[in-house]
């Protein structure tokens, strides 16, 4: 029996990009595999749920779970892995904040089903189906997308959409060496992206934005601060450690690394920081300038709606049937 720490990778409501981050370790994956025993990794290895159920409680050193929680199956797996693991690590923006799938909180189960399956011949999918005495089950889709921490206790968080391989490497190294920070920490520096931005020097002392520009509307200069060019760059509100990769690609920050530790609601804070820089002073002019931000929720809460203070769009009064 190996004495190496056991590690599990699991995915819930996610796109697969976080798995890609693990694969992006490239030959580094061999070092990880040498240092730990991978006991569950559905995207790459053939383990089943029963294998996890058969393990003793607490026998997995750490589970890296990516993706948000939006079905009963995902919630069950989160609870199961929590029970089997000493450490539960929320891996990536979806597990941490709800991520892109979290934007489904602008909808609810009924309106989604109506939009996707409404008027169809077969109706919407059911969770159970009987056929010749056999019973088939599908997971139940929730009204509200949740973060991992809203479902089970989370010990650490690795931010990003996706996290960088370097962050994962550091997390695994800290785990193997037993040098983890106090519980609850986000395993990344606690400062804003502007701090490590290669264009920091070109940020003017005082910013004044007439209207926000979207990347396709202007020719973007390769060296000047993106905010100074009027682009909606969320770097000022976003945690550093991505290596400013979007900025290097001449695109503004969209906030995937989430807030620093002093901020409760990422979208509100990002909105506050950026819109207060606008030039306009009068009601009419402000409203006119704000037309350049056609979808504030999609802009400021792109990765963090479920983790926000309001968490979801207000639901209709009529209750939904399961």
């Amino acid at each position: 029996m190996s004495t190496k720490p056991k590690v599990a990778f699991y995915w819930c409501a996610a796109c697969g990009g976080c798995e890609e981050a693990v694969v992006d370790l490239a030959e580094g994956i061999l070092d990880v595999a040498a240092a730990v025993d991978i006991v569950l990794w559905p995207v790459a290895m053939d383990f089943k749920r029963q294998d996890v159920e058969a393990m003793a409680d607490g026998s997995i050193a750490a589970t890296f779970l990516n993706g948000a929680i939006r079905s009963d199956e995902q919630e069950e797996m989160a609870h199961l892995l929590r029970r089997k693991s000493q450490l539960m690590i929320a891996f990536g923006a979806c597990a941490q904040l709800g991520g892109i799938p979290g934007l489904a909180n602008m909808w609810d189960r009924n309106s989604l089903m109506e939009r996707i399956y409404g008027g169809g011949e077969g109706g919407e999918p059911r969770t159970t189906h009987q056929d010749n005495g056999r019973s088939v089950h599908l997971p139940l889709l929730y009204d509200t997308v949740k973060t991992l921490a809203q479902v089970v206790e989370v010990d650490y968080t690795v931010p990003g959409c996706p996290p960088t391989p370097a962050l994962l490497n550091d997390a695994v190294a800290a785990l193997v060496a037993g040098k983890l920070p106090p519980k609850g920490a986000v395993l990344a520096p606690d400062r804003a992206l502007c701090d490590e931005c290669p264009r920091k020097e070109s940020k003017p002392e005082k910013l004044s934005i007439a209207e926000f520009k979207r990347p396709h509307q202007i020719l973007i200069d390769h060296e000047q601060c993106l905010l100074a060019q009027g682009l909606m760059c969320l770097g000022a509100a976003t945690r550093a450690s991505c290596g400013a990769r979007c900025i290097h690609g001449n695109m503004p920050c969209t906030g995937c690394f989430g807030p620093t530790s002093r901020v409760r609601d990422f979208g509100a804070k990002a909105m506050s920081a950026l819109t207060s820089l606008m030039e306009a002073k009068e009601d009419k002019a402000i409203l006119e300038a704000l037309k350049s931000v056609p979808d504030p929720i999609g802009t400021f809460y792109r990765y963090s709606l479920p983790a926000s203070l309001l968490a979801r769009k207000r639901m209709e009064e009529t209750p939904n049937a399961g």
């Binding site: 009963d72 919630e75 602008m106 609810d108 189960r109 139940l140 889709l141 929730y142 009204d143 509200t144 901020v263 409760r264 609601d265 979208g267 509100a268 804070k269 909105m271 506050s272 819109t275 207060s276 606008m278 306009a280 002073k281 009068e282 009601d283 402000i286 409203l287 704000l290 931000v293 979808d295 504030p296 929720i297 400021f300 809460y301 926000s308 203070l309 309001l310 968490a311 979801r312 769009k313 207000r314 639901m315 009064e317 209750p319 939904n320 399961g322």
Partner: protein
């Protein structure tokens, strides 16, 4: 619905609107008792997180009171408040919360009467709307 008493959180700036509310009080003006006033140094200090947290924790409406344009004690604070207010208003609208539940008013220290009018008007409108969260939501969840 007749028993519904709206809960309104009011952020009043130290230099204008809070003094106006004080004046309304010392002048023995009567107005609806539904506001919980929180004094802040400037309307520009009202972090949008405060407003969203008020809604998340059960407020039926949020009122922000600051100095008139050009009158800000800190010169620019009320302009920043106004820009954030309009941006937040759109966010709140997208989240399905009615317009009347979030309001910003410029009320100078001399305008005690205006506090009375604004608070009464807002309470009336929110009373007509009903509670922000009418009953425990029945969600499809585990």
């Amino acid at each position: 619905m007749s028993e519904f008493e709206p809960k309104i959180v009011a952020f009043f700036c130290n230099w204008c609107t809070y003094l106006a509310a004080d004046l309304a009080g010392t002048s023995r003006m009567k107005y609806a008792p539904n506001t919980r006033v929180i004094r802040v140094m400037c309307s520009g200090r009202v972090d949008p997180q405060f407003i969203l947290e008020a809604f998340a924790r059960g407020a039926d409406g949020v009122l922000i009171g600051g100095c008139h344009p050009n009158d800000c004690h800190y010169q620019e604070g009320n302009y920043k408040a106004l820009r954030r207010f309009y941006a937040l208003k759109e966010i709140v609208r997208q989240m399905g919360i009615e317009d009347e539940r979030l309001r910003l008013e410029w009320i100078s220290a001399a305008e005690g009467e205006r506090v009375k009018i604004v608070v009464n008007d807002m309470v009336g409108k929110i009373r007509a709307l009903g509670p922000l969260r009418p009953k425990p939501q029945q969600e499809v969840t585990a």
